[in-house]
Symmetry: C2
Subunit: 190 residues, 2 copies
């Protein structure tokens, strides 16, 4: 997605060989127009696949997930990273390890919201080590639903997440694929 | 907002005299079309007030905040409840006590994103005891910006948040104002 790549080049900050900060337009401040375009792009890529639900995870997946659901005309549901006080029973849970935060989270959704046979599009802001995406695929399967695809805003293609997702056989579409952050410079996969 | 009230009556679950669960359409699963209408409604209510930025707080404020920012054509920024690993300096912080979770959170934004003189619309999903809204007003003022208004999706009008916000002199607009949850029944302020 050309416009997203330009935005990353212009406003992203490379903090290390592994960390790209996109707080200017994606992860703290939000360019609301760009977010709408991201939703349109995912909707176009997974159009005609009979998606009935968008599944994402708090918090960076919620904005692109919502815009995608809006474009597809389906509801969105987001997995929580810790149990809510008002969500007590009927949960589907997967354990997701965050390499960034060096901690495991219980990722949960309520059984009520993904029925058997639902066709689920999983959306997240970032794909690096792939643990969150795998957790969402796992939750979808536990619910008896079909993980039709995974849509990622920014993929760090030099980490293992892409291959781990592809190994599950689920279609993966990433809007920006970064091949390297070395020498403080963002390089994209051609 | 008529359509929101109908949705609350139809799909909300009263768990106690103080707790309304709206996981079906607002707080876990999202009715994406309703969320767009909520954004349009806030944009209409604060139109012509020269809003330059929408400020909200993770996580329930992010969806309505994003849709409002999109309608107003301005960026959105969300305050974080704990410090991010890549957000280390230049923070504006306010301490917010959550009566629901019985804990204090440091609520932070980066100084870079709300400049002096910015005209800020604060959006949140819920208003009950008012602590989050007061924290966001405080952050806005610390940034040298103007808190033009507070927009709330669901207000529990029987708790003190409304008065606490009004005492600050900031305009408050709530789309659904609940006067009582007693006897398992949702009543709205006329």
């Amino acid at each position: 997605m050309e416009i997203l790549q330009r935005k990353i080049i212009k406003e992203g900050k490379v903090l290390s060989n592994h960390v790209l900060k996109v707080d200017m337009f994606l992860n703290h401040q939000m360019d609301s127009k760009l977010m709408k375009q991201i939703g349109e792009e995912f909707a176009a890529q997974f159009n005609n696949q009979g998606i009935t639900k968008v599944l994402t995870i708090e918090s960076s997946g919620i904005r692109p997930g919502l815009m995608t659901a809006l474009e597809l005309g389906v509801p969105m549901i987001f997995a929580r990273k810790r149990k809510s006080l008002t969500l007590t029973d009927g949960l589907i849970t997967s354990t997701v390890y965050s390499f960034t935060k060096k901690e495991s989270n219980e990722v949960t959704i309520s059984k009520d919201f993904i029925g058997e046979g639902a066709r689920v599009l999983i959306i997240d802001g970032f794909l690096a080590r792939g643990q969150a995406a795998l957790g969402l695929i796992d939750i979808t399967k536990q619910a008896g639903a079909v993980p039709v695809g995974v849509g990622i805003v920014i993929e760090k293609s030099f980490q293992e997440g892409r291959n781990l997702v592809l190994e599950t056989g689920v279609q993966l579409e990433s809007l920006a694929r970064i091949s390297s952050l070395e020498d403080g410079k963002v390089q994209f996969v051609n």
